[in-house]
Symmetry: D2
């Protein structure tokens, strides 16, 4: 499903490669990238797939088990690919991947498109787009939401920034892993929207943590408090899902690292500054995430930020 | 439905007045109080009702049209009542209503209960409870959520602080206007929970406003942004309902005044301070609501706080 | 020196006790109270002094070594006293001292004045003033600044709230320990001003800590940074005195507890809320002090709050 | 006076140009730059001076009245210059001046030094330094403090980032306009320190405004409040100078634009984020400056930010 772009029929598409197989390269086989690449690999009648990963063993395993060409370098992966998908920790990682004789830039061919599914930042994405355009290579920022679970079953939401016609050409690839493909605007707008969503997530987790810690101290059972809030105007995805499942149970499963949420909120905070939009709540939340990240370390889950609040309050939310 | 209290059957209740009619007084016929009182008035086989309002005409109209005794003073209303319900702007208003020869305190009878549905503050409620206990009068803080719409059809959520046995006795009255009656803890905990819910509402409105204003400036259509956020982890009641219905449409219906949200967040902020729970996000939000309230005046709706963000950002969310 | 009040000559004063000795009671012989009381005790030709302290040994020692009557109870101390000076941790402590058969209220005589040098809060002070006025007892809030060093040599600044004529009568006592006596306004205004000063101190310490930690991480020697700042527009008492003497040296002498600064900033924060003055910086600082206090405990010095910043920054300011 | 660098005697300096006249170019003849350039021009036995300004008339006037060569382009100014001084609004302006056939980069000669007195940002400065090093051109970031008054009499403080030996060579030029030359560290550290100083200035102005507005509302005369604060621990340059001279008098002279302070605090805020130092107070202050700047416009003086607080508080500090 394409949302927000011009109504488009892929039958209009003039590109010859729709007559045959679509050649795709996928770089970055992490927690989200791996299942995304698998969705592409599974459609063997539609796609040929090359994979590459910084730690080569992951790519070798993927190639052997799922079926794909194991590329030796980013340039090798890009060679002959109509679409190159990247899914890395940061935009800086994507930019670094372009460089050098074995880098993506030297492998990407005129007419190809780089689809960057990294939760990256708008400024770097704009710089990458300009750099690739000189070679006739298109660029879309296309971060996803839906988590590992959504990636496993191909129901991710994809937030796309870039040219509408380029997006139209990329739809077959995106539909392999995304259920809802949303055209947000020009290059960088996908990353901006993803970052704002993450900032709101961080705001909700932290403010709910503050409120529930105080209520617990006042003798109100957090389960009852959540029950009421979820029937009232203060509810959020955090109150309806994260806290009941992860905080009250003390399970705190490690599904998305606080280090990454800290990075994402930082991207939002910086983008808001560059857009000259005063945003005291989001900026303060960026500081709180930064504090919590330093305190809990790189391996903590994002919901564990609540533990910092609990420590400061001297009260456990359970 | 009673949540959070001990399993209780009203057949256990020893009070003789369950043999006959229940005598109720309702003070405060405002936007929420009026339909609540009407729910009680409608069950004419169960309740006898006296009403009182600061501006007497409202009570006279209610008495004439809906059917109730129009009490001349708070004391007159309380006289003979088993249950007195108050629904006023602030706890200070409730406390002031107790005073003097025609005040509630002089009218409330031993064994009666004051059910305070005001969105009040825990500290004042505790003081009122102590004062009434000297006369053998019970006290419950029982703020509601669900808005005017919920009050009209008797589906409010009621957050109750106070003694479980007192609550048990009050259930028939509460069930007249509430669908979900939640026992939160001791006196003040209903007010604390309501205030925290309101604080979260304010946090959500303001942070979403910040994010959408920035995205709009970056060229992302707010409708598309909300569509994505509502499919992602950053969603809240504000993103799912308030913004699509009220902000993007520029309708800003006046359903709940910003002045009252400011008051509620202030109650939460003060309660958190007294509980010694550091809460930078909620405290900062209290300041932002206070600023917005001063800027927009007493008549603005709570969602119009977004207009302050829009002005600061130089960008309209539409 | 009297600042801010009407020009006043003590020769105008009709009170007979100026013919003879002035009878003073001093309650609260802590770090500041003890040297203040000593200043009074030293002027033996002008004052007779009774002392009381919660832990009686301190008062007994004072009475024995410095020379004063050791009162057995607050009421005993107040008995016969024209002026009663209190110097306690909080206004709540002062209020509690009034109660009961041996409390201050029962001992204070018509025409006496309670001079409260506690760093207290305006709201409680107003309540105390109303309570004492019923007995014909005057009340001044009169917190001091200048620290232990200023108290030792009688050069404190005294910020006075209350009636100008009452202040005029109290001048001989105040001049025993204060060099600069400032009439700020009505009851509570001394406490308000002291609290705001403390809030500014906290703001300055914390923001300077943020800045210097970042500069240290950027490779700038904090001593050089302070040298420049102290020659520039960003200087403050904190940059000119506290940081060079206490932080860079890692001395952190315990001269004023963080617990008390946290209390003082909390008083300011609450007063600003009650005055309906939006104050995001001071309110956020109240949260930061509360966090630091919890983290460092009750015995830490106020400047040690910097250690919390250092830990979060992963950088020592030395 | 050189602070913070290695003890250095200019007699050690091997550079031949100390045998004769020193050739200097000055670009940017604004409010601060103009008097700085005049200090250089006045020492006619030591310096030959070329000047350039974006609006050429200013440079022509300077050349005619003070005596200097009026360069036609940045490249022309740099041609033959041993030292090129820039004093522009932002680092981005400096970077832009490097570009193109008439840009600084094409005019600067091997062995020359660019001394950038702009209140710029560390990141851009590092980029410029790397770019110039390829041509054998040195770079120092050297922002100043002391204001127009200090520039007029050559008593500025100069905060220098860059190589110590390069600084040594530049001392004769710097001493023409600076009294205190401080070597802060590597390239960018001068800009970082200046930005932090400005952030502290902004913190002090805003927090003092909050406090005085509240005290005024509580009936305390701001002049008395300042008198006490200035004798106490909460004093700062803002309380000792800015507020008595500019706020209480309602003079608000336009000496340094709020737009520039907003920019400076933004530089500090971004640098702190990049250094991963959580800094809630400085980050929040950046938002408040941004809000005030938008509200008051580009021409307001930095101290006029207080007017935004006064409006929010409904109270004038006078």
């Amino acid at each position: 499903m394409l949302v927000g772009g011009p109504a488009s029929s892929l039958t209009d598409c003039p590109f010859s490669y729709f007559d045959g197989m679509i050649s795709v390269a996928f770089l970055g086989l992490g927690a989200i990238g791996n299942p995304m690449a698998r969705q592409i690999a599974q459609e063997k009648e539609q796609f040929t797939l090359a994979v590459w990963n910084r730690s080569g063993q992951k790519a070798a395993d993927f190639a052997a088990k799922i079926g794909a060409r194991h590329a030796s370098t980013p340039a090798d992966a890009a060679s002959g690919a109509q679409f190159v998908v990247t899914c890395l920790p940061t935009s800086a990682d994507v930019e670094a991947l372009l460089d050098g004789p074995t880098g993506l830039e030297s492998g990407l061919e005129d007419g190809a498109v780089l689809i960057d599914c990294t939760s990256g930042d708008p400024t770097t994405s704009k710089r990458i787009a300009v750099r690739l355009a000189k070679h006739g290579v298109g660029f879309l920022d296309a971060p996803v939401s839906g988590g590992v679970a959504g990636a496993e079953i191909g129901t991710l939401t994809v937030m796309v920034g870039g040219d509408a016609d380029v997006l139209k050409r990329c739809m077959p690839v995106m539909e392999a892993f995304g259920e809802k493909i949303v055209h947000c605007g020009s290059v960088g707008s996908g990353h901006a929207l993803k970052a704002v969503n993450q900032a709101l997530l961080a705001v909700h987790i932290w403010s709910l943590g503050e409120g529930l810690a105080a209520l617990a101290r006042a003798g109100v059972d957090p389960a009852i408090a959540l029950d009421v809030i979820n029937a009232s105007s203060g509810r959020s995805n955090s109150s309806q899902n994260l806290f009941p499942q992860r905080v009250l149970t003390r399970a705190f499963p490690r599904t998305f690292r606080l280090a990454l949420l800290d990075k994402d909120v930082g991207i939002a905070a910086r983008a808001l500054r560059e857009l000259k939009v005063p945003a005291p709540l989001i900026q303060l939340t960026a500081e709180l995430m930064s504090m919590a990240h330093r305190e809990l370390g790189d391996e903590a889950d994002h919901v564990e930020a609540v533990k910092v609040i609990e420590r400061m309050a001297g009260e456990v939310i359970d």
